[in-house]
Symmetry: C2
Subunit: 306 residues, 2 copies
Amino acid sequence: MSLVVVGSMAFDAIETPFGKSDKIIGGAGTFIAWCASNFTGVKQISVVGGDFPQSELDALSARGVALEGVQIKKDEKTFFWSGRYHMDMNTRDTLVTELNVLGDFKPVVPDSYQDCEFLMLGNLAPAVQSSVIKQLKNKPKLIVMDTMNFWMDIALDDLKHTLSLVDVLMVNDSEARQLSGDYSLVRAAQKISAMGPKFVIIKKGEHGALLFHENQIFSAPALPLEDVFDPTGAGDTFAGGFIAHLAKTKDISFNNMKTAIIVGSALASFAVEKFGTERLRSLTKEEISGRINEFVQLSTFDISLV
Amino acid sequence: MSLVVVGSMAFDAIETPFGKSDKIIGGAGTFIAWCASNFTGVKQISVVGGDFPQSELDALSARGVALEGVQIKKDEKTFFWSGRYHMDMNTRDTLVTELNVLGDFKPVVPDSYQDCEFLMLGNLAPAVQSSVIKQLKNKPKLIVMDTMNFWMDIALDDLKHTLSLVDVLMVNDSEARQLSGDYSLVRAAQKISAMGPKFVIIKKGEHGALLFHENQIFSAPALPLEDVFDPTGAGDTFAGGFIAHLAKTKDISFNNMKTAIIVGSALASFAVEKFGTERLRSLTKEEISGRINEFVQLSTFDISLV
């Protein structure tokens, strides 16, 4: 039984108030794979062009990321995104989007991925996400979907269809408000849940994340950081840590999802320390468990004295 | 030994997307007193005009709020504020500010207040706040100060002087950024702490609150609410719950301050349910402890499975 990840593998060029990167490795699928492979094996579904470095593919293989589902289109170019972050690091301008191989991406699920128990749908066109679900012969134990406002603007019907097929949706707060048409995040989560996903995760960047399920709510803090160097991929890394913890423990209770959110938050707090995937590549198990313990310190309190 | 509260007692008129209030009882000191008197006695310092209802003073007395330090200027009018909240309930426009008796408020600390052990300086001109500190013959065990951007704009030197005399500052996130000149809340807290207060609390509205002390950080969630009916006084109520828990337990450790922040957050979550102080007037001990338990449910997680 396995964790299957669908997501872009890309080049990014990033400007922040702290500096400017060259054309570096990015993409939701890449961040998810680098993060999740700290906890469990990963079976990757994606597409790259002939310009994507073999060394990157080799590095992922070496970490236990299966690449049979990654199409390599030798004569085409890899997806490229360039953006510039504002001072608040929560808002950004897209400078360049070159879809390239992603423009007509038709994912193919290899036979060796049919043991999929946990499916992570990274941010992609919702029709691409649902085509992966439909190729699976057995329904996975858990399907988690990430998406963004862009798809709400141009492919809302596709998005709603995919939503009806998944168990967990993760979006940020402004996306939750846009999708539901409700300003209150509590009511937004209720309305989104009625569209399909029984669990709704609302990411709030530096303010942490909320998990909603029926009448239960969990509020996870974000680690307060002196500097957020580059927020690119923080949400994808969060997703990777979240699903990898669930896949490793095979427990999809609300209680274990709370833990999974802390794991995702801890990993995301590393991702923002350097450009792109750089920080995720050098992580040790000790650093990860140390960071998770910081979340315990950060949020534990005692009401016995009240 | 006692808790002394300094703060405005006022009339407010409030417009929110949900409705419009008449001229109702408001003021930082009023909210703090209504909240804190759930936990401990309060000795109030304030000023009102002849138009302030005796029934309100009687109601506070009946809850154990001493009013010897409340000046009643029979021929003048009580401070009046009117504001309109935007849809996000975090931003508001001030429609009317009539300082009236607050314009030349010179607080006088009665002899019977000289046993002050905990001093809560509600949001007021910083020179007024420091004049109370200077009238106390013995240094209190803990001085907590609330303030706002308005004083940073027009009375920064006074504010910095008062800051140098207090133990805890509470401000919201944009105020912390303004006061420190630093966007990072971690560095903002460090810079503010260097101005005097060894503890810095940064309130983030619907995103909770952060407590900073030396190298320690505590992140408290806010209770996700379907509706925030009227945010007026939420910060004052938070302050009242915070200091009242400390005054009741007489423990000013970092650990107990974490609990105090949860108590303040729980009380603030009630305050926003109705206009003005209305919800605070009807609170029961059972409702308060039930709400505090909701904060435990909201934020508890288990990392033993990681």
